[in-house]
Symmetry: C2
Subunit: 338 residues, 2 copies
């Protein structure tokens, strides 16, 4: 396949716990499989040093220099202004200029989102982007959003998330007519806080496949394919699920030690771990609501995670995810009065 | 011990999934152990029929007739007006009139709370009561509130919950100087939604032992002894924890079937169940913020649960819980300007 047909992906080499080693290795993995042509973006010296550790001859991989990175503990908007040549800005700009089709980062979620908003803009009708995806092992095909970027949401914002999640579920998860639920307390319509009640009314007249409220326990059974909540609740849920997974694994290991052969116990623990780390299995998730493909993954990503993120980027591009999101948001948001 | 020194408890015989059989049996258990003098309140015919199945001679147990019950799916306030002789009203009224020291119900949470508010009133400084308690097996001494009765909370309401939870933790859980946390997203002060940011400022100047924000994963490790959140988030958390417990038990059972002897597997499952059903182990929890002892338990309560609830009621009375709550709320709420 000639390079001209290859997907072009820019990867933030400075993002993640083990940067730039892991992003560089992941980039090379992805380039080797012929998945994409890679632009690896980062500080010149450390990235080139990592690149020399691998045989990159004949691989479709290019180094693009940047200076500095956005740290997790920085306020994203301010950091972007102070560091205009930071890796995530340079990497995202490659998408803006059309050099790349998608950008991937395992770095600061806030920085990645802010860079996407500033450079790619948001989809018309979406005020601020969201993060989302599957987070519960028992329901790996359930998309939950927002998971932490919009802490105070207007009902119309929740509706926007519902549209984005529905398109994602359809195109990337492969659910034909995704069932859409609103996270609330009590299954009947009209149960919930003020925000949920108002959002519910908007969903009802949206034309989306809205099945009503879902509750905390319904997240585990995957009652809905797409679950909408504000980023405050979503982030509490996300971190609680992670914490309970770890906690239960510890409990179990203690309870089973000596009662099962070590290799069985290890296998069981790995199964449980995998079942409760569905995000890693997909490599990350798109920044929902920005007008371009920007994939964000976990800081603890392995090279394999990054390769999977490139695969996800390819699916986003191949399915015209962004175009479809633009179309659906435009249609559905026209049902809202305000 | 003469009856005059015995704690007097009224029990709603009509509340719970298997009423009146289970409440009656639980009442008899508690009466037999000499824990309390019991007033069992319910519809005449079915309750007396249950009572005849047991030998109640010489037991400190009295039947008090009522008519009808508040169902789970009824709007509590309306139902109370429509059914002025419902069991929970008659049972709670025994506390109001001084006949009983505490009331216990495994029926409608909303009905129990509404009856307590109407008849016992709320503690001065508390607008509406809350429900709370431990909900995570790995942190059985952590009190989380509100778990679902206040879906839209002002910051000062959250502060009130913090006071109530702190007194409960001190007197009933036995934590000397309870660490108080605010459920939010991000551990740093100033992270969170508008509600959390404003509440955090109130907590800081409250004089309580406020340790700042806690996140979803911190609930599992018990970082704080008392965790405050609004009832919307709390109820999502409560139901998610229940759902994940069930879901993981199912996963495990499948994974371990045939690999462990059946009796080991059963024991493990029971351990896990117990570890993840801490509410049942205490019999229930008090309605936080009402001016009297009202204990609410789960509809699926067993007779043993009800006996434990009587034990909990005794602790509430013996430790002067309500008086202490009144005192602390008065002190702390005076630090709030509005």
């Amino acid at each position: 396949m000639p390079n001209t047909e290859l997907l072009k992906v820019s990867i933030d080499a400075m993002g993640g716990d083990n940067a730039p080693a892991v992003p560089v290795e992941g980039a090379i993995l992805a380039a080797k499989t012929g998945l994409a042509e890679i632009f690896i973006v980062g500080d010149k010296e450390p990235v080139e040093q990592e690149l020399t550790k691998h045989d990159t001859k004949d691989l479709p991989i290019h180094f693009v220099p940047s200076e500095g990175k956005i740290e997790d503990d920085e306020a994203p908007a301010l950091a972007l202004r102070q560091k205009p040549t930071a890796s995530i800005l340079v990497a995202t700009n490659l998408v803006k200029t059309g050099t790349a089709d998608a950008v991937i980062s395992m770095g600061s979620t806030g920085g990645t989102m802010a860079a996407a908003v500033v450079l790619l803009g948001t989809i018309k009708g979406i005020e601020r982007p969201a993060i989302g995806g599957p987070i519960i092992g028992a329901a790996p095909n359930q998309t939950i959003l927002d998971l932490g970027s919009n802490l105070d949401c207007k009902p119309s914002q929740l509706l926007g998330f519902g549209v984005l999640g529905t398109v994602f579920s359809k195109l990337l998860v492969g659910v034909e007519n995704p069932k859409l639920g609103l996270l609330s307390v009590g299954s009947e319509d009209g149960k919930g806080n003020i925000q949920a009640k108002e959002a519910s009314a908007l969903f009802r007249k949206s034309g989306l496949n809205f099945i009503g409220n879902v509750e905390g326990n319904d997240l585990v059974t995957g009652k809905a394919d797409v679950v909408v909540c504000d980023g405050f609740v979503g982030n509490v849920v996300l971190k609680l699920v992670e914490g309970l997974g770890k906690g239960l694994a510890g409990q179990l290991k203690t309870a089973l030690e000596g009662k099962l052969p070590d290799d069985h116990l290890d296998a069981l623990m790995q199964d449980l771990y995998k079942n409760n780390n569905v995000v890693d299995a997909r490599g990350g998730g798109p920044v929902f609501g920005v007008d371009g493909v920007s994939i964000i993954g976990h800081g603890s990503a392995s090279p394999g995670t990054i390769e999977r993120a490139v695969g996800l980027a390819k699916m986003c591009v191949d399915t015209n995810l962004i175009q479809e999101m633009n179309k659906e948001v435009s249609t559905v948001m026209s049902t809202v009065d305000d």
